[in-house]
Amino acid sequence: MHLIKFYLLISIGFLSICLKSDTVDFKYEILAEGLNRPWGVAIVDNDHVIFTELSGQLRQIYQGKLIEEAVKGVPSVLYKGQGGLSGVTVDPNFKENNILYLAFSSRDEGERTNTLKVIRAELINNSLKNIKEIFRAFPSRNTALHYGGKMTFLDDGTLLITSGDGFNYRESAQQLDNHFGKILRINTDGSIPNDNPFLDKSYALPEIWSYGHRNPQGLINHEGVIYGLEHGPMGGDEINIIEPGKNYGWPAITYGKDYNGSIISPFTEMDGMEQPIKYWVPSIAPSSITYYDKNLFSEWQNNLFVSYMKPGGIRRLVVEDFKIIKEEILFSDFSRIRSFKVFPDGSILLATDGNGGEIIRVTPNYEE
């Protein structure tokens, strides 16, 4: 009996050492609260955050304080289902030109249909000026789901935009004559880069960069590697390495099932269709992806982070040779997390989902 107790104590001690080695203590600072479905976040610098509320407001946090008044001049959005003011990203030269980009769902004038739009505008004195529509997804849809709406810049200054499959139009993700289920690449003035992959195909829309996506909810460029985060059906959330001209398979191959319990496809792989570097079954409902390359949380350097909403938290993913070799769940005491971003100083921003959402800054706790 004593021997069993001895082994138990040794085991518990060993386990606690193992857990401690991966544990980081945090300090939380709530930057904004009582928000109306915070969605997209852009970090300008350590003191300046711009974020969207899905209901249509563009907000700013400056020096740790929420500017009470929403940014003026934001176009009206269709706030319904998953539609609304979703994506925001700032120009790589934002400090000089104050230009930002917004992705949102917009009702077609006089119609019952709607579509995803991207605008470019200057942010001057808490107001948008010189607004220009630079992208409009074709064709329109009658659903208010799966818009995508995430953006990132390539190193050459062109803009990548995710466009979801609109839920009812999933098969269109495999056709190149529409924007459903695509990642698109445009110049920041809305023109088409002359080296887009399908320009030589007369039937293909010229903005298409990659296809076969469902509802891409994350897109980042880390040193020229583009990571795409795909919100899957019932199971089948994915992280993909996005390359121009490639087909990511949806819905011809998938690890997920339809919400009605039926099979979407019995296939999970096929020649000519890319495999994810990571997939989750059952679904975790991922909402954003970030690469951590700072020193503040030194244990996390060069890890991928995925925020998710089922049941809510952050997945830390250790990547080696484009393979996920380790996964850790963090911040699971929060509810659904809509966005995870990194400040230039290495501290972390979390945006919790839903009405009453919060923007939280996380730093290491050195007091212990």
Binding site: N260, G261, I263, I264
Partner: protein, 151 residues
Amino acid sequence: MRTFFDLLISSLLVTILIVLVNTSSNLIWLNSMGMPINITLIFKSFFQDLIGMNLSSEIPLYLLICFPLIISLMVIKILVFRGISPKILYYSLAGAVAILALVILLPFAFDNVEPIAGSRTYMGKIFMTLSGLIGGYYFGSKQVRGLHASN
């Protein structure tokens, strides 16, 4: 009791046919994409869908179908008690209308989202309506036969 049992069997028949339409529409599209569809895969997919759509879905398909189909067929049944001569055709049409109403109205409850993927196309809607017609025909044939037997 007999009527109730026939209603359940009729709903089960319609459920099986609608799953068949759903699976077929999926596999036909996959085949058009050059995916290798064979007979084993067809049967496997059908049975997986039959189980999945009734056990993995938040609302089992069988219950979803039972509700409008039973109401529709019972309306015809009640008309019989009011002296209107029953015909199998009435039951068949009632079954078809019930399922047509289901596939048309269901998206309104889900912001235009089609919860049954196979009903997104006109062909899908037509075949599902025909499934309702067959279910109604089955129920009607049982009722009319029972009525003749009791006479």
